[in-house]
Symmetry: C2
Subunit: 157 residues, 2 copies
DNA sequence: TATTGTTATACTCTATAACTATA
DNA sequence: TATAGTTATAGAGTATAACAATA
């Protein structure tokens, strides 16, 4: 189901020297950094009770979605190297949010799974993420959310 | 100058349970984090010769655009707090890329300016940023770049 | 040889708190 | 009182290098 909507499109023409590097405001990377910072800050400020970072929540979430996941698999999904993954896992294990096991199929690999405490923490964390997303999405139209995610995915994939 | 354009807007109706939090793939914050990481990684890997981080380049750029800028003004533009700004400035000053001075109008404030060496480094850095942006923009259509910047700005402003 | 996990190391980013000087 | 800069401190993220165990 679709309907026609009229929007105003500013027709900024391409100017001579447009491809040159001009103002810092036109640098995509600059805005990605700032947006990331804003998101990071809102999350940590609003949900300091959680005592979990976005990254840690992401790890709990992925482990919950993929029981027995190995560290390398997790690392790939998070776009982290092994050492960084280790550091994150260690912190979560120290708080008894997840446990390491031995993979039956491959002796080199380990299995990661949430503890009951980890599952409980994830429920709270998802609640927080949900609120956080509402804050984020309040700045975007419904359709823009999908567009934005699609464009960002093209960048990190 | 503007013109009217008609677009099709899919009127996806809100469904029961729509506000529920589903897959991690639908979380905007998740993609912003990953995209930021991808951009960060590409920049540091490709321009390790520079010995400058994106943040440091941004600071040099802003100081160049705004001679005699004070640390607090810079901090606002970078969305950093004072302490983080100090740390960044200190690193750049230690490398003789910028100098601190005293503000004539306000004894509390300082002035920041690039040294000749800092200016030279900025030229190289802008070259790198330009290439980096090409890599980034190769994943996006011309129009999408503007859309993305606009949406990201709405998030961090 | 390649992969997985591990440890050690280092730099950057981020922020909080407390202090000094100035407005 | 408020603002600007400073210092000390700390946790987290990021990565590299080298090592052991396993495939």
């Amino acid at each position: 189901m679709t309907r026609i909507k009229e929007i105003l499109v500013p027709t900024t023409p391409r100017v001579e020297g447009d491809e040159e590097i001009g103002e810092i405001r036109n640098i995509v990377g600059f805005h990605i950094r700032l947006a990331h910072g804003a998101v990071y800050r809102h999350f940590t400020e609003t949900f300091s009770d959680l005592e979990l970072t976005q990254k840690q929540v992401s790890v709990l979430w992925l482990v919950d979605d993929h029981p027995d996941i190995a560290q390398t698999d997790l690392a790939q999904r998070m776009r982290m190297d092994r050492a960084t993954t280790m550091a994150t896992i260690n912190r979560l294990q120290a708080r008894d949010y997840l446990v390491r096991g031995k993979s039956a199929s491959d002796g080199r690999k380990q299995t990661l799974n949430l503890t009951d405490e980890g599952s409980k923490a994830l429920v709270d964390a998802k609640e927080a993420i949900s609120e956080h997303e509402k804050w984020l999405k309040s700045r975007l139209a419904e359709k823009e959310v999908r567009t934005l995610i699609e464009m960002l995915a093209r960048i990190h994939e």
